[in-house]
Symmetry: C2
Subunit: 456 residues, 2 copies
């Protein structure tokens, strides 16, 4: 994916003949989409780049493919020792292997200033990622400033400074759009919602200590009508604020302890005939949320537990597989049941270790799970996840890049591009390129970038 | 070490009475050292800080103690919710537990721009570190621009841009001095010297493949007079460029394979009666280097193998213990033999892992090794080492801080300051303080700093 060496046309011997490239013509075939439209899962990112003098031509069906081709063109240009800019004659037909290539950023465990998010969007474009999975709120804080429910961030954010206003959110979405990147927000319920409870009365389940409320709260309370009234209004807002066709609804790691302690919940379980199977209660809740979101004509993504716990899902639900333990089996089950899947499990980049862990991420073959051709087609991509427990603006960029670049290439390039030594060379060059472009990508190993300046 | 809560005088109830502090008087007892002198191992860093209105008094024997006291004073000042700056009445007598509290930076595996080094010196001062162990050259590159031997960096640096000129080195030393920080350069020989060989003919041992030279080179060639002529001149320069009383001479990880392959070296071994004990050859070499450096009235530090391999050492040699395996035993042996020791083994901060590894560094008790009181006194401190294989300017600061702060407190504060919960609170505050001061210290765990700004 990165670097020019692979694109050198065999049979031509550079630099015996140097010619001038005077122009790059960009031709977009599709009359639609217009300038105000957004990238979609079904968008074409294919492009055909022909570099010959004096005019290079970049052809794409859609503007999104043209963006990818321009990125490639910019990576093909290199500077020689005399300061001239060169590009080899090339003929490239390129397109992504997977349609969904995402980066998850978590703005709840730590607040990320807008600048960090925008810089990361730049880096994503340099690495041909096309989805920002914005894990915007969680237990720890609620930085999203809601229009209908301003108390959620007033009380649930770390402070009045640690919020994303509607203007901020619009800026992120527009900055992403201009780079061909979808923004899929995640509003994870019913678990991971402690911060929601601060600004929204009666939303969370009161936990009990024997006969008495303990004073602490559990997941969203699934037995109250008020919960669904709130969610209806809340997701109406979210559906209109975020233009993408998908919303991520979370659904992971729901602890049943608090529900089990609450006498009203127990009574409700009995009425519904759920017995003591709290996964049924979770599914009951999730089903209602899915219905709400569907009614706004949005598709949804969910974490794998929603599938595991047998919530009834719309056929086009996207299930995100995150548990590292036996994820191939999970991919097999999800796709066998006919659901679209996204793979995140092997790419939790918040986990760090000494050395070159990019090789591990690079070596994953997403389609290496048991299943039919039809099943394989249901795996539409993957995500590199940088959860925020130990990450904020101080270390986000070097922790994410170039480690995520390895995931980016895996998701874009052909399955047979697997040579680690070759990848190392191209990644090292690409890392220096990112540095030149203002992305503080950390080194892969010992060495240097030619452009690095001495002193200040 | 960090934060104000511990210093609040018992018996006084703040903020019932608010008074004005109009002045901080600094009194330095010693007429010497004058302004142009450098911090030394024997420098006093003790200070006595009395904060009462209207005049606070900071007393110290030497300017170095006054610097530490000013740092403490700056950390005691805090801002209330209304923007007033407050400081509690306090009476603090403070001094370091260990005299040598170092940070090792490696500028060979990756070049660090001057700015990174200076920023790190600021951070060191904020954390009361007093030694920069500058691992300036190694196998990978030779960024030190020598006055006598300019070819060393001309050919051994990554490029002409990846060097430290004499002016750069003077700037680092002066910037450090103003913060009470000694700069101890390391010129590691006879191993770790591949980059030296590029600019200095015949310095390295030619390795053999059977009867023939293989074309590759091993450690410094210990059998040639020219080697010692070079080293005599080279260390004369180093002794004059670096004002500190100590030079670190390395001596670690010397591979004997190349020496063993070389027929001239084998012949020399026979002549000297070393048999096949190449550790004796290593000691022979080291002994000569020590004699050279001693002749310039410099003391020296060495890595533990120099002691392990039984080189004859001057009694005041400082032995740095770095091997993680059984370092307590090594500390015991080194001090039993009467040598001064520095502990680095448990504080290799280049090793990273997921989570709060600062706790591990914080929990080390350096004196927890078998030995007499006299032996314990020979352990004069420790160093946090950030080796550069995977570190450059992009990630140095967040990788080093606040993890090194844990080591800093361990080396400064009393041995009974061990409470992790208490340390967590103070470290978190201190990390926010570092951020405000321009040090991109990474987060310890989830949370936020009050001053963090929204948006850009």
């Amino acid at each position: 994916m990165f670097g020019h060496s692979r694109w050198r046309s065999p049979g031509r011997r550079w630099p015996f003949v140097r010619r001038e490239l005077s122009q790059l013509q960009v031709v977009i075939a599709a009359p639609e989409p217009g300038c105000d439209s957004y990238p979609r899962l079904a968008s074409s990112e294919a492009y055909h780049l022909t570099i010959t003098e004096p005019v290079a031509i970049l052809k794409a069906d859609e503007v999104w493919g043209a963006l990818r081709g321009l990125e490639t063109f910019s990576q093909l240009v290199h500077e020689d020792d005399y300061g001239s800019f060169l590009v080899n004659e090339s003929d490239i037909y390129d397109f992504p292997r997977f349609a969904h290539r995402g980066i998850l950023l978590d703005t709840s465990r730590h607040y990320l200033p807008l600048k960090s998010i925008l810089t990361n969007l730049d880096a994503m474009a340099f690495n041909k990622f096309n989805v920002l999975h914005w894990h915007i709120v969680d237990d720890q804080s609620f930085p999203y400033q809601s229009i209908y429910f301003p108390e959620l961030s007033n009380k649930g954010a770390y402070s009045y400074n640690h919020i994303y206003t509607p203007t901020d959110v619009r800026l992120v979405i527009e900055y992403a759009r201009l780079r061909g990147i979808r923004v899929i927000p995640e509003f994870d319920t019913p678990g991971h919602t402690q911060s929601w409870g601060k600004g929204q009365k009666d939303l969370l389940t009161p936990c009990y200590n024997g006969e008495q409320p303990s004073g602490s709260f559990g997941p969203v309370n699934p037995i109250l009508n008020s919960t669904y009234d709130f969610m209806t209004k809340f997701f109406k807002e979210i559906s209109s604020v975020f233009p993408d066709a998908y919303i991520h609804l979370g659904g992971d790691e729901v602890s049943f302890d608090c529900w089990k302690s609450n006498p009203d919940v127990k009574e409700f379980m009995k009425e519904q005939g759920f017995g003591i199977d709290y996964a049924k209660l979770e599914s009951y809740y999730i089903q209602k949320i899915l219905d709400i979101v569907s009614s706004y004509n949005k598709g949804y993504m969910v974490w794998q537990e929603v599938f595991d716990n047998k919530a009834q899902l719309k056929p086009d639900t996207v299930v995100e597989v995150w548990m590292a333990n036996n994820y191939a089996h999970e991919l097999s089950s999800v796709t066998k049941a006919g659901f679209t899947a996204i793979l995140a499990a092997p790419w939790y980049l918040d986990y760090i270790s000494y050395g070159q862990d990019w090789k591990k991420y690079y070596s994953v073959e997403p389609l290496n799970f048991p299943g039919s051709e039809k099943q394989k087609k249901l795996l539409i991509g993957g995500e590199a996840c940088l959860w925020g427990e130990f990450v904020d603006a101080t270390n986000l960029t070097p922790r994410l890049w170039p480690r995520a670049s390895a995931v980016g290439e895996r998701l874009w390039s052909s399955s047979n591009v697997t040579d680690l030594q070759d990848a190392y060379k191209r990644l090292s060059n690409h890392r220096c390129r990112m540095l030149r472009r203002g992305i503080a990508a950390e080194p892969l190993f010992v060495g240097y970038c030619a452009h690095e300046a001495r002193g200040w």
